[in-house]
Structures are given as structure tokens and as C-alpha cells.
Amino acid sequence: MIRFLLRRLAQSLLLLWLVSVIGFAVLHLAPGGPLAEFTLIPGMTTAQLKLIAHQMGLDRPLPVQYWEWFRRMLVGNWGRSYRDSQPVLDVIASHLGPTLELMVSSTIIAILLGTWVGVLGAIRRYSVFDYLATVGAMIALSIPTFWFGLVVIYIFSVELAWLPAGNLYTIGNGSFVDYAVHLISPSIVLALVTIAIWSRYLRASMLEVVNQDYIRTARAKGMPERTILFRHTIRNALLPMITIAGLQLPTLLSGALVTETVFTWPGMGRLFLDSIGYRDYPVVMGILMFSAVLVLLGNLIADLLYAAADPRIRLD
């Protein structure tokens, strides 16, 4: 176990380093740069631009810039955002909360509904419900989130005026109920696709398990269907879902760009888009490293959970 962890850690560090090199190179070699924001300021001179480039350290050779960035990152100094001159870690932290809030609530909705639809679809295979769920999942997967979000806003906020048209909370209110009400529309919009994916995976996984010998054995020894379902079928069918959930972790924290834009949600997805648009190198690199760590962490956790859930799997 320890050996496995150490090996994974070494692999992960190497991977992270590679991600940082490639990310840094691609970002800086892409056309354009943060100076575009300054060139348009009235009265800006070439000499002044050079000075700004110098102050931002952009006039140094790329390997030097990388080394400076890397050296500081190791000791926890991830630089400052070009947009608002705040430390990168603070910028990320301030956008993490809203994203986490949205993701947790939408994931809970997605898992609950997805599991229900998936399980029911599998045990009542080819029923009306199953067909409806299949068609529904296809539709959910093909609806553009942006459009769906706007439709939800149009119906529930503009026409019916039941729900707010986005935003984290009503400025000046900020009570728990207010937060919760604001979460409803974006969580549902975001959950829709996950419900579809999750229910399809679970249905397939369930169908595989129900034909296994041990289920037949359980049934043969007279175990009630309900117990079979909960103790044997679902438990085993959920195993592959652990991997899917593990892979889901990074998407949870890296934000949902479209949903965040439609619902004016100040999360990570929008931060990433804004930072890319501005060529805010320190923040983009910060988000990149942060996401890479999450991917690796998600995989590791999935592997560990898998081993814990399935005694047949040995990590060494």
C-alpha cells in the first residue's frame, strides 16, 4: 500500500511538472498577450509599453520566465493576477467557494436522480419508464446548456417570477434561504447532463450484474428481491461508478463554464475564461496546475476506494 502510494506520488509529480512545462509553453507561444489590454489606452507609447513589459517580466527569455515562475510556485508564491493584482491563490480561492456550492448541490441531485433512473431502468428493462428514460437521456445530452439555461430563466424567472434569474445571492440579503433559492435553477440545469450520463452508466452496470452467478445463487436460496437488489446488485453495480465519480472530481472544482455564465455565477469556469481572454498568465497557470492536481487526486482516490470496496483488488 505504502509502496503503491509512493510510486503514484512520484509519477504524479513528474506528470505535474510536464503539465506545467507544456502548459507554460503553449500559453506563452499562443499569439497575443496581456499587453494588448494596455496598447489601447489613449496616449500609450511604445516606450511605456516596453516598461510595463519589463515590470511584468515579459521581456525575459521564456525559459527564464518559466524558471522564475516554477521556483516561486514551489514555495507557494504563485504570482499575482495581471487583471486585479491579487495573489493567484487568493483569486482561485475566492472563486472556489461558489463553484463548490453549485457542484455539490448539482451532484447530489444528479446522483440521487441518476441512480434512481438507472436502477429503475435496469430492473424494469424495456418498460415504458425505461424507454422514456433512454429518450430523456438522449435529449438531455443533446440540449445545449446555454439554451436550456436561458429557457429555464425565461420560464421560471421572467414569466413566472418564481426563481431569481441567476446570481449567487440577493446583494444585501444573503440569508440561507436566499442562497438556496438561487441555487435551484443552476443546479438543475447543470445536473441534467450528469443525470443522463450517470443513469446510462448505472443502467448498463446493473444489467451486467443482474446476470451474474451470485445473483442467481441469492435468488435460488430464496433471498427476497429487495435484499438482492440492495445488498448485491446495486452494491456491485456501483463499483465501476467509483471510477466515474473519481474522474468527475476535477470537473466539479474546475467549474461549469456555460452554466456559470448563464446564471452569473462567479465560479472557476468563468475565472478561467476571463483569464484566458486577458492572457492573465499567472492565473491561467494557477488554474491549470490546480486542475492537474485534482485530476491526479481524483484518480488516486478512485483507485483507493475501489480497493476498499472490492476485496479482490490489491493495490500492491
Partner: protein, 562 residues
């Protein structure tokens, strides 16, 4: 202006015809409010500002304000916040009149504030003004602000004009003097947009570029810093010790809503009380006008949409080509079909509201037959593929603008068609803002760009930075003459116009320059932008202006009618 603004202005244009009609329009909307059904007529008619700051107001912006040190490089929405936190020495109101703010009066040659030769300046300051932290404001803060702008280590927003200042002297806490290296008339307008910063805070900062002040600003404005939620909103609260009129609102919130359709929806639902930069898109205007309890105002903006040409490219060296291109453009269709008829056609780079706007400049005429005949006469004959050429130069070029701006893309396609009809090939190659408005634009790597630009210097009609031959960045010049336009007569006129304080002389110079530039056609003007913005009907005080880049310049006088 900024990349994003350039991008978005394509979606939010319009225009009305001058100050009078704008005021009339505002007056009309106020009258509608007075007869509104929601509130008793008597209450509306008697509506006046509350005696103490009351209520709060949410402003929607489609870009996020992130720079709060007003002397550092910033964009329009940042300035929209600065107007409320800080004060300039004086400002230009929506009629273009200069109104003293931190200064006790606006210096002129007549009142002796500026010497006859335009070199010595003496500004008397308003006594008793306090910073938000209670410290007194004085002339040394003004000196500090000017010095900071000229500090080579400081990332200054602009040094234009300030670099001419010499011997800045604090004569007394309420009086400051300086000498200019040469007379420079636009200085008075530049100072309209220069906000004073506190010496007692920034003076102690080890590095003014990264001082904590930049995220917790202290000013002399009508509102004080309260809170910023990054990526979401900024809250300011009323300054009880504000020296000027108001404020009448207890709290104002600048809410960042990155998508214009979403911002409009939030305006519909009432989540925002005022829809500011970049406003309502032209395609939503008809719907917006019908909204209940909302006032939608088509106000003027200083930006002019044009095709800028890079005159260093062989295709554009011949004036006849540029003139033919202009004859070949169906600008009317662009405005009517693509921009819903809202912006106003123009052939000038100055907004019609400016005192230096020359109404006699030849208007644009769409005449493809004439375009063809002058090209024929000048020897530009159709070659392979019907594209005209002369001495090995084909009339084929690229046009670029910010990628993803669908309205502009439609206009580009129309122009492509227009010019194909006269035997000119235009290829469209659009790019993301961080690419196009970087070196590609600034160092004149482009053939042509489609861009909405404010050519003035703050509220002053001086356009030197765009048309002086010494303002070509690709040739090491200071300015934004990326068209590489040179005309010695225009140089002389613009220089004379900027160095005299005599209004008549300035106007004469600028009118003449406008005629010459209209003849030379370094850029092909299409229309003057305006903003379509709106407020809730009972929000009073909104006054759009061409003399500012964001219309939150007078929120201190805004209030809720009761």
C-alpha cells in the same frame, strides 16, 4: 478603448442627434414617469431627492472592474467605478460644460488661472474636503498624484500631458501651481479624467504598483469602498462627508454579468436597476422599449465605427483607391439592416456633439459606378478573377476585427460583397482580442481593421494621437497612428490646435484638419456609436454623455423617486 469594449460595442450601438435632442429625450422620459400609473401622480410630480442617503441601486456591467487605483492602466468599467470613489479637479458634464470638483474654480486665461502664454497654471482648491478615512485633502495630494503619474517606476495609465508639467509647487494647502513645457490646450480636458489619490496612503507604499490601496481604495468621491466579491460584484456605500451634491443612495452595487443576453434578462426581471456598459444589444431594443416600468435611453457615445487602413501597404498608397473603397461601401444598409437603424451615419472621426465637429465635411455617398470609374481612370484595371490591379499591385487585402462579434461579422460580409462589385477583394480574418489589439494592430501588421474607436483626448477634440505623423508606434512614435497616416499640413494644424487656448483658432484648425482627413481617407468612417441603456422608471438622475466613457459619472445625483 479596450479589446473587449471594441468587441462588444459592435453589439450595442445607436445614436441620437445631439445634446438638445438628448435632453429633450430625457425630459420626455421624466414626463412619462410623472404620469406613470404605478405611483400617485402627485407623488411623482413632487419627487425630489431624499434628505439623506436612502436605498440601494444595482448597476449591471458586462465587463468586470478590477483596477481600483485610478492612475493605473484601466478600462471603461473601471473608470465607471472610479467616478464614484474618487474626484477629479473638474469634470465635463453631459452638456460639455466644465464643472469644478476638487478645484474651487476651473482655471482659464480669463480668470488668471492660466497665463496668457498658456504655460503657468494656478489651481485653487476647494477647502474642507476630506478623504474617506477622514484625513484632509490638500494641494500636496494633487502634487503627489501628478508626480506619481510621472514616476518611471509607476505603471501609469497615461503620461500624455503630465510629462509636460514642470515645477509643480504646493503654494498653500488649497493652491497648487505648475509650469507647462509648452502650451497644451487638451490638458484641461485630460484633467477631467484624472482622479486624485491620497498621498498619506500611497506615499507610504513601498511599491505603488502593488499597494493594498489598489484593492481597498480611499478617495474623496460620493461613495466609499465597502466590499468586492471577485468575479461578481463591488459594493460602495454613501460618503456622509462628500463635498458635492448628494449622494442620495445609501449603497450602490456594480454587478458583473459577462453575457449581454443574460444582462438584459436580469434587467427584465429587475435584478439590476440600471443596465450600463455595454448596454442593451440592438436586437433587443424593440423588446426593451416595451418593458413595463423601465426607461430605455438611446444615448450618444464618442466611438466611431470605421475601416482603418494601413497606408504603408501598397494597396492603400493611392488616394483614389481609398476614395473608391469609400464610394463602394453601402453604409446605409449596414446601419439599417445590421444595426437596426439605431446608429447615425457619419463621415467624420469626431462625435457630432463635439464643438470641433465640422458639419460641412462631405458626407459619405454610396456610388459603386463612381467607384469603378475613378479606379478605371486611375489605371486600376480588372486582372485575374476580375480583381483590379496596377503595376503588379492587386486590390486584394485582409480585414480583421475581434472574433466572435457576430454583428461586425455581418457588416464585414456585406462590405466584402460591396467591394467585390467594384473589383476589389477583401478577405476576412478575425482574431481574439488579445491577439488583434496587441502588436498586430499597434505595430501596423494589419491591412485593414474594422473598429469602433474614440479618437478624442478625453473630452477634448484633439485627435493628434491618431493622425500626427509623429504618433506612429511602428516607427517609434508615441501614439496610436497605426494607419501610418502622414500629412504635414494636418500635422501643423493639429499641433497648432493643441497649443492654443483660443477657441476660435482651435475650431478653425480642427475643421480644416477634418476636411483634409476626409479627403485623404486614412479611415473609412461608417457610423457614430451610441449606447442603449436603461433604468427602472423611478430611478432619477441618469444622464448619458459623450464626455465620459461610462455613464456612471454622476451617480451622486441619482435617487429613487418616491
Amino acid at each position: 478603448m479596450t479589446d473587449d469594449a471594441r468587441a462588444d460595442f459592435g453589439c450595442s450601438p445607436t445614436m441620437i442627434h445631439g445634446d438638445m435632442s438628448r435632453r429633450r429625450l430625457l425630459g420626455a422620459t421624466a414626463a412619462v414617469g410623472a404620469s406613470g400609473l404605478l405611483l400617485p401622480v402627485a407623488a411623482r410630480a413632487a419627487s425630489k431627492p431624499p434628505t439623506r442617503p436612502t436605498g440601494h441601486m444595482t448597476i449591471g456591467f458586462s465587463q468586470e472592474p478590477t483596477v481600483f487605483n485610478p492612475l493605473m492602466p484601466h478600462i471603461e468599467v473601471d473608470q465607471g467605478v472610479h467616478w464614484n470613489l474618487f474626484s477629479p479637479l473638474w469634470l465635463a458634464n453631459e452638456k460639455g460644460e466644465l464643472v469644478p470638483q476638487l478645484a474651487a474654480e476651473v482655471p482659464t486665461i480669463a480668470n488668471g488661472g492660466i497665463s496668457k502664454d498658456g504655460l503657468s497654471w494656478r489651481v485653487k482648491l476647494r477647502p474642507g474636503v476630506k478623504w474617506h478615512d477622514g484625513q484632509p485633502f490638500s494641494a500636496s495630494d494633487v502634487k503627489f498624484s501628478f508626480d506619481l503619474l510621472n514616476n518611471p517606476k509607476f505603471r501609469a495609465w497615461s503620461r500624455g500631458g503630465y510629462e509636460l508639467m514642470r515645477d509643480i509647487k504646493v503654494e498653500s494647502p488649497t493652491e497648487i501651481t505648475w509650469t507647462m513645457a509648452k502650451p497644451y490646450a487638451p490638458m484641461i480636458s485630460i484633467l477631467c479624467w484624472t482622479f486624485m489619490v491620497p498621498e498619506h496612503i500611497l506615499g507610504k507604499a513601498a511599491d505603488p504598483n502593488t499597494s493594498p490601496f489598489n484593492q481597498a481604495p480611499v478617495g474623496t468621491g460620493a461613495f466609499m469602498w465597502k466590499q468586492r466579491v471577485p468575479g461578481d460584484h463591488i459594493t460602495l456605500e454613501a460618503n456622509p462627508h462628500y463635498f458635492g451634491t448628494g449622494p442620495y443612495l445609501q449603497e450602490i452595487v456594480f454587478k458583473y454579468i459577462p453575457d449581454l443576453t443574460v444582462m438584459f434578462t436580469q434587467f427584465q426581471t429587475g435584478a439590476i436597476d440600471y443596465i450600463g456598459l455595454q448596454g442593451i444589444t440592438a436586437d433587443h431594443y424593440a423588446q426593451a422599449k416595451k418593458l413595463k416600468d423601465r426607461t430605455v435611453v438611446v444615448g450618444p457615445a464618442p466611438f466611431v465605427e470605421s475601416i482603418m487602413m494601413n497606408l504603408s501597404k501598397p494597396q492603400f498608397k493611392d488616394q483614389v483607391v481609398r476614395e473608391a473603397l469609400y464610394y463602394g461601401m453601402d453604409n446605409k444598409t449596414i446601419v439599417e439592416q445590421i444595426y437596426y437603424g439605431l446608429p447615425k451615419l457619419t463621415s467624420s472621426y469626431l462625435p457630432t456633439q463635439s464643438w470641433a465637429y465640422n458639419p460641412h465635411v462631405a458626407p459619405h455617398v454610396y456610388d459603386p459606378a463612381k467607384a469603378k470609374s475613378i479606379l478605371d481612370a486611375a489605371g486600376w484595371k480588372p486582372g485575374s478573377g476580375g480583381i483590379r490591379e496596377k503595376n503588379g499591385v492587386r486590390l486584394s487585402f485582409q480585414n480583421s476585427t475581434t472574433a466572435g462579434n457576430h454583428v461586425r461579422e455581418q457588416a464585414q460580409q456585406l462590405l466584402q460583397q460591396n467591394w467585390q462589385d467594384i473589383g476589389v477583394e477583401m478577405k476576412i480574418k478575425n482574431m481574439p482580442p488579445a491577439v488583434i489589439w496587441g502588436d498586430y494592430f499597434n505595430m501596423s501588421h494589419y491591412d485593414t481593421v474594422m473598429v469602433g474607436e474614440d479618437f478624442m483626448t478625453g473630452p477634448d477634440p484633439d485627435v493628434s494621437q491618431f493622425f500626427l505623423s509623429a504618433a506612429i508606434p511602428a516607427k517609434g512614435g508615441a501614439g496610436q497612428n497605426t494607419m501610418e497616416y502622414t500629412n504635414p499640413v494636418v500635422d501643423k494644424l493639429l499641433q497648432e490646435g493643441a497649443s492654443t487656448f483660443d477657441h476660435t483658432t482651435r475650431q478653425k484648425d480642427y475643421w480644416k484638419a477634418a476636411e483634409l482627413i476626409r479627403h485623404d481617407l486614412p479611415l473609412l468612417a461608417i457610423f457614430q456609436y451610441a449606447t442603449i441603456e436603461g433604468t427602472k422608471k423611478n430611478l432619477m438622475g441618469y444622464a448619458p454623455s459623450v464626455y465620459v466613457s461610462t455613464n456612471t459619472w454622476n451617480v451622486n445625483t441619482w435617487y429613487w423617486a418616491t
